[in-house]
Amino acid sequence: MSTRLSTGGKYLNRSDQRRFTFNGKQFTGYEGDTLASALLANDQMLMGRSFKYHRPRGVVASGAEEPNALVNLGTGGTFEPNQRATTTELFDGLTATSQNHWPSLEFDIGVANNAMARFFPAGFYYKTFMAPRAAWKHVFEPIVRQSAGLGQVPKDRDADTYEHFYAFYDVVIVGGGVAGLQAALAAGSAGAKVLLMEQTAHLGGRAVIDGGEVDGKPVDAWVADAGETLDAMPNVTVRLRMMGAGVYDHGYVLGYERVRDHDPMAEGPRHRLWRIRTQQIVTATGAIERPLSFAGNDIPGVMLASAVRDYVDGYGVSPGDRTVVVTNNDDAYRTAISLKKAGLEVPVILDARASGGGALADEAKGLGIRVETGKGIAKVKGGKRVTGVAVCAQAGEGAVLEEIACDAVAMSGGWSPVVHLWSHCGGKLFWDEDQAHFRPDPNRPPTSHDGKGFVIPAGSANGPMDLAEVMGDAHAAGLAAAKALGLKSGKAAAPKVAPQPEAAMEPVWLMPQGAGPKLRMKAWLDYQNDVKVSDVRLAAQEGYESVEHTKRYTTLGMATDQGKLSNINGLAVLSDALNQPIPATGTTTFRPPYTPISFGAIAGEARADTFQPLRKTPIHDWHEAQGAFFEPVGHWRRPYCFPRQGETHSDAVNREINQTRKSVGLLDASTLGKIIVKGPDAGRFLDMLYTNMMSTLKPGKCRYGLMCNENGFLIDDGVVARIDEDTFLCHTTTGGAERIHGWMEDWLQCEWWDWKVFTANVTEQFAQIAVVGPNARKVLEKLGGMDVSKDALAFMEWKDGQLGGFDCRAYRISFSGELSYEIAVPASQGRAFWDALLVAGEEFGMMPYGTEALHVMRAEKGFIMIGDETDGTVIPQDLGLNWAISKKKEDFLGKRAQERPHMTDPSRWKLVGLETLDGSVIPDGSYAIAEGTNANGQRNTQGRVTSTYYSPTLEKGIAMGLVLYGPDRMGEVIEFNKVDGSTVAARIVDPVFYDKDGEKQNV
């Protein structure tokens, strides 16, 4: 059993007891515990079930690389799945539940998947797609659904807050182990502005557990001193519980700070995402121990050797009474020694190396521990807990030499440097034969804008595992970072450490070396995704050679741990199966983040009301007070309609239209884009931008214009007013203002830079209000001021003046077909002018209308809307707008493109009006169906609806659409499809439904 030891535990504060629950059971632990160490202390080795086979799983590691011990943490608004028990600091009141099991962790029905394991081989997911459809519905889907997904999706809104933090440093050091500390001392004393981040709650990393002497003092004392020295340096910042999540282009680093995960009742944000710019990055990220691939290596109780001694020495926890150590290197002997010194039994150390170990092995033997060289584990015995191991010769095929009872196994397959951050931005690796791992290639670092490397690996992350070498390497890394900044090295000296030579490790990729299919089927590579040695071999057999393809086919390394334990072992198995050396197979790409970061941290403050900036017109507050129903248009919120008591939205829209057509309505059109184009070449410039002629427009007049891109497609439209000889005001669509302004600048800055033209986007400088309807003039006359009669201000003219005492510019333009004035006033006067209009319009029953009434009224008039009639593939000619395309101009943007054969093809779908025979409204998005079917068995089409509404004016459904040879087929009836599979018949008609001769707007 696993239990708390009566003494020991460097991280523990035994005077501070903490209570927590796991699957509803009450447990206690201490301050300094992780959830994993506290569970082990309470003999809760079984912590979860695996993803695919629902096999019982215990904790295997003690840090960020943990694949098994994932739990649901918290409840309600603080619930979060897939939290690693090994990196969850224990707090009082913590509640956790295990994942991937039904009905309980102890007894799981899904474990049937386990018995069916041979039916879920590599590529299972892909192979099922090849199966008959029926098999999917009745066999595969239920199985996949049952087993898919890790943890549960949170159901409540996240109750916590999060923030982003921007920071700038000379040197960012990732990792607060001894290497990171030494690099910080070196760079800091040279005068660099340094940030050191450590993902755990402690400085010192592995060295604190592994021991040794630095500068003549025990390493943990050295760590404490180094921490104090750094704290005293004003140019150095040290942050705990902060992970280097990713390294990006040109020295951008993401730091993920878990501010109060360990203390949930504290004030402030839960997580803080640091968005850091730095000149140099030192990755002192250490190394991760590799598991060994033997049968039964996933049975709870089988753990990494380093994790076992972390639990013993760091947390005062015994993972088992009798622990068998199995290794291919000297380091694991430290675990055996730790266990023995803690008074626990180590029945045997199985060293796969025929020649055995060095000084550490001698020390173990000196403590009376039995050591067997050239031996390995044939298989682990046990179900929910290890009960023993079968010993075999590593060189053989697994013939059992002896069975040894034990309740834990500590394994070590060697160490892999954590190269993730080095690799994120393109740093390359090479294969170190001696240590059988990939490590950073110093000649191929990720490069910054000066073409020089900006990431420096330090300590174990760079390959060295011996403390003396680690410290020397880290010191050099800190100095190199300072030197890259042009700084002279400071007073920090390289620490003195006596080397502790170790015997060479020997790579072991399968144990025993000749393990047959039966053993390989039980030898796990990826614990979280249930990928075994046999799966990778099968993939190779089926022709997968690329490691990236094999990864996706088998899902090796694709779980939430991103294969921190499994990548190298899997790669080695694949290389062996392909009969080629490991570097020839290559490695997979490391991508940020290093371990998963919370969605909350990514979103930061950008949620709810602060999700994005909201643009409001000067009249917005009035709309809100009226209870307007808003719709988003770009970043604006525009009233869709103004529903009154008891009205539905469509009731309101119909009322607004009827009243406007009958008397007068009012529209807040302030969102419309307004761009001033000014200069001697302004006319010439607009002639290039619009398809029609603008240079001939007289001051005081307005003209509707179309803009196309160089592909010939319509991108925007609007009314242009000529203010004076040199000045035009171009109206754009609401969503197009910024885009079109940028488009103008693009051509002025990059193509016609010698033309004398300036532009200014003045959209927000003016409030613009449309007064629309037969009584519009009367309302304005009641306000009094400028002459708004037909003679003084004719259709498509504009004039400056005063109305009701407000300075204004009145445009006689109409998007509804009614007598209409659009009146612009300075934005600061917008609300006051709106209020004055409301008073003046009262006797005419004037009411505001929203965007939907605007849309319906323009459709009744057959006016196009950018984004409805256009979708980026429509040219003006498709919409019957040939009248707005100049034949005289030699050139305008889009002209050349519109001459291409495809654009002049008569079979392009063209705009028509559509009237349903039964008066109903054609569903949005309907297609006009044609005879026959296409190659995919779908009905052929001959057109589609672009706008479709109920017209209260005509009291029936009206629509516009693009139809094959449409304008030549007036009166013909065609069928449009509906969602329910039926069709609706519609007659092709003129798109102008209302006031065809334009008499109403021209009065």
Partner: protein, 109 residues
């Protein structure tokens, strides 16, 4: 996230402050051009692993369009320069030659 120096206002801007605007030094072909030239102008773009010339806009800054010469592989920036030019300045071309002797890009070398 790249950082580029705006040649107009001098700010070292990071990508969130800029807007990528495609390939630099495109020659416009309008009415009267033949199909091949027009197709090339509209659709044919360089996609080099190495030196590249791009247009950027300091869209959340001074609003100016500018050009950047950079290596798509190493992310090295050889320089940024105003857009009102038909070819890269000589000092930038020289700097590229130091890293990639004999480089070519479209008609430039």
């Amino acid at each position: 996230m790249l950082t580029l120096q705006c040649p107009y206002c001098g700010v070292w801007a990071e990508e969130t402050e800029l807007h990528a605007e495609g390939e630099a030094h495109l020659k416009r072909f309008g009415p009267g051009s033949d199909d091949a030239d027009f197709e090339s102008y509209l659709f044919m773009r360089e996609n080099p692993k190495g030196v590249h010339f791009e247009r950027w806009r300091h869209s959340h800054g001074c609003g100016k369009f500018f050009h950047a010469a950079r290596c798509t592989m190493t992310l090295k920036v050889f320089g940024t320069y105003p857009a009102q030019t038909l070819e890269p300045p000589q000092d930038i071309k020289d700097r590229i030659s130091e890293t990639y002797p004999g480089w070519t890009w479209r008609n430039f070398k």
